[in-house]
């Protein structure tokens, strides 16, 4: 299949502006500035059906249309705080095709009438941040950023900001407070960022991959884009597959592709018999192998199967992996990343981890299983931001599908595997 999102990955020096331009880069920008009014671009993206690639899947064009009329300045923030375990798709784009992202940001900023955009990149992505900074400098030099871009009269500043290392900064309000120089804590909504975001001004926040799609839509049109994927999940998607497969990595596929196609045809097949798959990043509920045969990779099919497409991070878990140990480790991650602002998440994730730790270390009690589920119920939907809910997926789904393994751990005080 022809590659679009990954078309420059693997090309020597793909991060250099000349290579990018040589391969047709910044053509979509020229077209957007020349042929489109901002509102027409918003309409185009809305028609394309492009949905947010950060995990929630909210239609990007609809989000853009929430900007209150006539309120300026507006900001656009590219969320490059790729923190969900199992997810590394944005990293590949940032490191190998930074100009593709920048072009997407410029077009999107123009569409949203933004004159200052930011890339908030997670602190651990040192290499990626350096690549981006260099690429931004090159774009300024060539007049793709700054004043009067390509003679259109449109001005845009783009700032790369490195986070200080916190999962919760991937949550949009947490990201904004961190970007403002404050402690990265989620904020109350409403007001929503589209009306009062960065510096209390209207702000659009989109994931790296979402913005990266925009130039292709401009270049080829909404109809072309909708030709990929399913009716309700149109378009192209990056899947980053890891775990027990022979060729882990990032693959570009239309939404709606069968899960087994990804695993077998792209990722080289499982390296061990599949025990479970976590389909959309560590917070998404794990699925038993029997549903995989008929499962397709789109928002609706995964929801129907009781999980989520999330960020497109497919983690394949092979036989021989202790589920209790796996879940204990994930619980530790969420307790470590809980920001502390709200009680259920701060106290609940700590408690969940302590129980998981006890079970894993042979100190479990049978009533702990129900206790875990009740604590999850007490966090579910009650935390300030989605982090609390994110911590629950691995626990509730693993108990649902692997209760026997928990019981074995508790009764025998050791692993089943």
């Amino acid at each position: 299949m022809e590659k679009f999102l990954l078309r420059n990955v693997g090309v020597p020096n793909s991060h250099e502006i000349d290579v990018y331009i040589g391969r047709g880069g910044y053509q979509a920008l020229a077209k957007a500035l020349k042929e489109f009014e901002p509102q027409e671009l918003v309409n185009l993206v809305r028609e394309s059906g492009l949905r947010g690639r950060g995990g929630a899947g909210f239609p990007a064009g609809v989000k853009w249309s929430f900007l209150p009329k006539g309120v300026y300045p507006r900001y656009l923030v590219c969320n490059a705080d790729e923190g969900e375990p199992g997810t590394f798709k944005d990293r590949v784009l940032i490191e190998h095709d930074p100009h593709g992202l920048i072009e997407g940001i410029i077009i999107s900023s123009y569409a949203c009438e933004v004159e200052h955009a930011f890339i908030y990149i997670r602190g651990e992505y040192v290499f990626g941040a350096k690549r981006l900074e260099k690429a931004v400098a090159q774009a300024y030099e060539r007049g793709y950023l700054g004043r009067n871009i390509l003679g259109s009269g449109y001005d845009l500043e783009l700032t790369v900001h490195r986070g200080a290392g916190s999962y919760v900064c991937g949550e949009e309000t947490g990201l904004l407070t961190s970007l403002e120089g404050d402690r990265g804590h989620p904020k109350l909504k409403p007001p929503f960022p589209a009306s009062q975001g960065l510096y209390r001004k209207p702000t659009i926040i989109n994931n790296v991959e979402t913005l990266f799609n925009v130039p292709f839509i401009v270049e080829h049109g909404a109809e072309w884009y909708k030709g990929f994927g399913t009716e309700r999940s149109p378009g192209l998607k990056l899947f980053c597959i890891s775990g027990h497969v022979n060729k882990p990595g990032v693959y570009e596929l239309p939404l709606g592709t069968p899960m087994m196609t990804l695993i077998n045809d792209y990722a080289g097949g499982p390296s061990k018999p599949i025990k479970t798959v976590i389909p959309g990043g560590s917070s998404t509920p794990m699925l038993p192998p029997d549903v995989l045969e008929t499962l397709t990779l789109d928002y609706e099919a995964l929801a129907a199967a009781g999980s989520m497409l999330g960020s497109g991070a497919v983690i394949v878990v092979g036989e021989g992996t202790c589920i209790v140990r796996l879940v204990e480790r994930l619980a530790e991650f969420y307790r470590h990343e809980s920001c502390g602002k709200c009680i259920p998440c701060r106290e609940g994730t700590d408690w969940l981890y302590k129980i998981m730790h006890r079970i894993e270390h042979g100190q479990g009690r049978e009533e702990d299983i129900d206790l875990l589920l009740d604590i999850c119920d007490n966090i579910s939907g009650k935390s300030f931001c989605p982090l609390g809910d994110a911590a629950l997926g691995p626990i509730t789904s693993s108990i649902k599908h692997f209760r026997d393994e928990y019981l074995y751990h508790i009764r025998e005080r050791r692993c089943m595997v």
Partner: protein
């Protein structure tokens, strides 16, 4: 008027104004929803999640504290899911709470405790080890922090952000490790720190002063009024076994809105000081020795009678203070006028005639521009500072500071008019000039005259005189005139002295010109207005009536006494007369002129007979022949009239120690010994402040109809008449200078000082700074003085030995010496009646 919204909460129809939160809508009909992070005076936070409720057609539960009502909303606050969630939140908190309630100061008034009692789990499902954090460490000299008890509601941090604007606490670490703390190496020294204790929902922040001194349910709660400054903050005195254990803020939106400064909250330990005088003292063989009340009062009676008989009533006088109640002040002046037969009665720190009270606190809080002229609210009226900071910080209220010193409020970007002392009138005339010249004035009548009067004060010339840059002056004029609700506040010293009346006139002109309320005086004492209303001044009868024949006759009839017709001496004159030997006896109530008056010390030593009634052996009491032990504000009933003219009730919370008596009682007892009945028009077995107030209400017009019943707990504003407001000419007279003493002395109070009560309040007194003189780096360089050098500050009259504090907080050409910090009276440097005190500073 907001439109109304009707919704259903727990099957009840509720109608509230649009914009109300579900929480407050429920509260309005008595439905309780628990909250921890929510506090009504702070912006909603939504962090604790304990107020989650069910709302039909909304997915999941919603926080009642942040959700605004909508028409036809159906809310359930007690559904099974809501109750399960509430219980869960409490269970989460208890998993790591130390449950050391038996030794927690908050026990009995702890929200967490109460909520667990009502909604919490009855059994613990938590078998893991609890987290351990720091327990009982000193967050500051005043506040003890227990990190294990903290529920991380962030109320303290948010209060410091939204009110005090002292960003001294914040979250550190993350998740389960989160803790509230000071920044590394930085103190928590906000003078508003104690409010965090009141708003802490648990026992995480506790008071060093109150620590382990009572269980909350043992406390008797007595409403009262703070006796430290003129704001008149409403407080609650918490008493157990006749000891004052704690002071906390009391809700009164018209005054302090529940907030307190740390001085008012913590500096009450003087009441239990072993240094309190508990028995009358009589001088025998040159020493003050304990005596009985009979002996002491008989001696006072006999000596005062002798002196009046021998030298006439003119040879005696009474000096009171604005720290006593209206009732005591009223009785005191009545005693001096009827029993001693003289109008020689006054008090220390009397406000000049023409000074006016502050507009109501509401007007101050709602102002969009405030001119603070020669006053420092942080040191003199902290809770007003709190209100101004909040307004400046959150609403962008402009704060124009006219002060030779860079006070804290200059941080809001001013402008700061750092004038040369003695040039106040020129500065104010200059402001009027700019406003008229630029046509910015709102009041148009009779401006032609004013224009003429201020024509010689164009900005450039004002810059020459005052050293305030012309552009700053113009900016100040613009800010003042752009405001919709400007409030002008001045310090009492600004309108004292030879230029005082001109200054007052110029301030009035300015206010009139911009259409503002009459400028208000930042009265410094708790009862500065009241004692004037009570006639504690040589030229005023109660109700501020002038001493004319008609009033004298009417009052004489009521008081059943022949009132003296001869004009009385004011404090300055009485002390001068004492120096000259013409005044032979003084009766002093709760004042310390030996420290607070330029010639107090020497004048008092000349007296034949001195009586002092006070709490402590002050420098003045040490000179007395008889010292009478007086009650503190917590040991007597009475009223104060605050700086906005609000009469407020103090309730007796403690029985006085040993033989201590309330000020008013002492006067009544002495009068009886002297053969007069002055307590009230009714015969009195015991001193009854209530009866005295009834008499005041009949005698002093503004207090007409007031009674303890009508005052209630919130008090009532009384209005004393101001004059007609019109423009008048304010003449600027350049202050005389003295080449030998090139620096102008600026004095002022500090909140934490060595005044008699504060200095005897054990824990707080460690916060008093060492005595210092603040000098501008430019002057310090010329004089080769370095920071912390030992220096002598001398004037033509006297000198003081101090440490230099080199800082550009004081403008060049001036030095700042705080009052009441050292054992030497700072006022001794000044010539009574001089506009500016000139000094020199030399290195020792």
């Amino acid at each position: 008027m907001e439109p109304l919204v009707t919704l259903t909460i727990d099957d009840r129809e509720v109608t509230v104004p649009a914009g109300t939160t579900v929480l407050n809508a429920a509260k309005s009909v008595g439905i309780e929803i628990p909250t921890l992070c929510y506090y009504e005076k702070l912006a909603p936070f939504g962090g604790c999640r304990i107020c989650l409720v069910e709302i039909e057609k909304m997915r999941g539960l919603q926080t009642a504290c942040t959700t605004v009502v909508r028409p036809d909303m159906v809310v359930r606050t007690a559904s099974p899911e809501v109750l399960k969630t509430r219980k869960a939140i409490l269970e989460f908190l208890l998993t790591n709470h130390p449950l050391d309630c038996p030794v927690c100061d908050k026990g009995g008034e702890c929200d967490l405790q109460d909520f667990v009692f009502k909604w919490g789990p009855t059994e613990s499902r938590y078998i893991e080890e609890k987290r351990h954090k720091r327990k009982a460490y000193a967050l500051s000299p005043l506040i003890v922090k227990d990190e294990e008890r903290c529920v991380l509601c962030r109320r303290c941090v948010r209060y410091l952000e939204e009110w005090a604007d002292d960003l001294q606490l914040d979250y550190f670490e993350r998740g389960r490790l989160t803790r509230v703390d000071t920044f590394p190496g930085q103190p928590f020294d906000s003078v508003f720190s104690g409010n965090t204790i009141d708003i802490c929902p648990v026992g995480a922040l506790t008071s060093r002063v109150f620590r382990f001194r009572a269980r909350s349910w043992e406390l008797e709660k007595v409403p009262s009024v703070c006796a430290y400054c003129g704001v008149g903050c409403n407080i609650t005195l918490d008493v157990k076994t006749n000891k004052l254990r704690r002071i906390s803020g009391r809700e009164n939106p018209a005054v302090n809105d529940g907030w307190l400064c740390d001085k008012g909250r913590f500096a009450h330990q003087y009441i239990d000081s072993p240094e309190r005088i508990t028995r009358p003292l009589v001088r025998k063989d040159g020493e003050l020795r304990p005596a009985s009340w009979d002996e002491a009062l008989n001696l006072v009676s006999q000596r005062l009678r002798e002196i009046v008989r021998e030298s006439g009533p003119r040879s005696v006088g009474g000096v009171g203070s604005a720290t006593v109640t209206n009732e005591a002040a009223y009785l005191f002046q009545k005693f001096v006028r009827t029993v001693l037969g003289t109008n020689n009665v006054d008090h220390l720190g009397r406000l000049p005639d023409g000074a006016r009270p502050l507009p109501s606190m509401t007007e101050v809080r709602e102002a969009d521009a405030i001119l603070l002229f020669g006053a420092d609210t942080l040191e003199e009226a902290p809770v007003i500072e709190l209100f101004i900071r909040r307004a400046a910080n959150l609403k962008g209220t402009k704060v124009i500071v006219a002060n030779p010193r860079r006070i804290n409020l200059t941080r809001y970007g001013g402008p700061w008019l750092a004038y040369r002392p003695g040039t106040e009138v020129a500065l104010l005339n200059g402001l009027a000039h700019v406003i008229l010249a630029e046509g910015l004035h709102k009041e148009g009548r009779r401006v032609a005259e004013l224009k003429e009067w201020v024509k010689d004060y164009p900005p450039d010339k004002v810059e020459e005189i005052t050293a305030v840059p012309a552009e700053t002056l113009r900016e100040a004029a613009r800010v003042l005139t752009e405001a919709q609700k400007a409030v002008l506040i001045y310090g009492p010293d600004t309108v004292r002295g030879p230029n005082g009346q001109a200054c007052l006139t110029a301030l009035n002109n300015l206010a009139l010109l911009i259409g503002a309320h009459e400028p208000g005086c930042l009265a410094q004492e708790p009862n500065s207005w009241g004692v004037l209303d009570m006639g504690l001044a040589p030229h005023l009868y109660p109700g501020r009536q002038r001493l004319d024949d008609k009033v004298r006759e009417r009052l004489g009839k009521r008081w059943k006494a022949q009132l003296p017709s001869e004009a009385g001496l004011g404090l300055d004159e009485m002390l001068k007369a004492a120096l000259d030997g013409e005044l032979e006896a003084l009766y002093i109530m709760a004042a310390n002129p030996a420290m607070d008056h330029p010639i107090g010390d020497e004048a008092l030593e000349k007296l034949k007979f001195l009586v002092v009634q006070d709490l402590f052996l002050t420098e003045t009491a040490q000179l007395a022949d008889v010292v009478l032990p007086a009650a503190s504000f917590a040991e007597a009933d009475g009223t104060f009239t605050n700086m906005a003219g609000r009469v407020q009730r103090l309730h007796q919370a403690l029985r006085p120690l040993a033989e201590v008596k309330p000020h008013g009682q002492i006067i009544v007892d002495l009068a009886r010994v002297m053969g007069q009945e002055i307590g009230a028009t009714m015969p009195l077995e015991h001193y009854s402040p209530q009866a005295v107030m009834e008499e005041i209400a009949r005698v002093a017009a503004p207090y007409e109809g007031l009674s303890y019943g009508s005052l209630g707990d919130d008090g009532i504003p009384v209005t004393t008449e101001g004059g007609t407001r019109r423009f008048a000419q304010a003449d600027f007279r350049p202050p005389a200078t003295d080449a030998a003493y090139p620096l102008a002395l600026v004095t002022g109070r500090l909140l934490y000082d060595r005044s008699p009560l504060f200095a005897r309040s054990e824990i707080m007194r460690q916060l008093v700074p060492e005595p210092f003189v603040e000098i501008n780096p430019a002057d310090a360089e010329t004089l080769r003085i370095a920071d912390q050098d030992a220096v002598t500050v001398s004037s033509a009259r006297d000198s003081l030995e101090l440490r230099a504090r080199v800082s550009d907080d004081i403008r060049p050409g001036c030095v700042f010496v705080p009052l009441h910090l050292n054992e030497m009276p700072v006022v001794a440097l000044s010539e009574a009646g001089a506009a500016v005190t000139w000094v020199k500073v030399t290195k020792r």
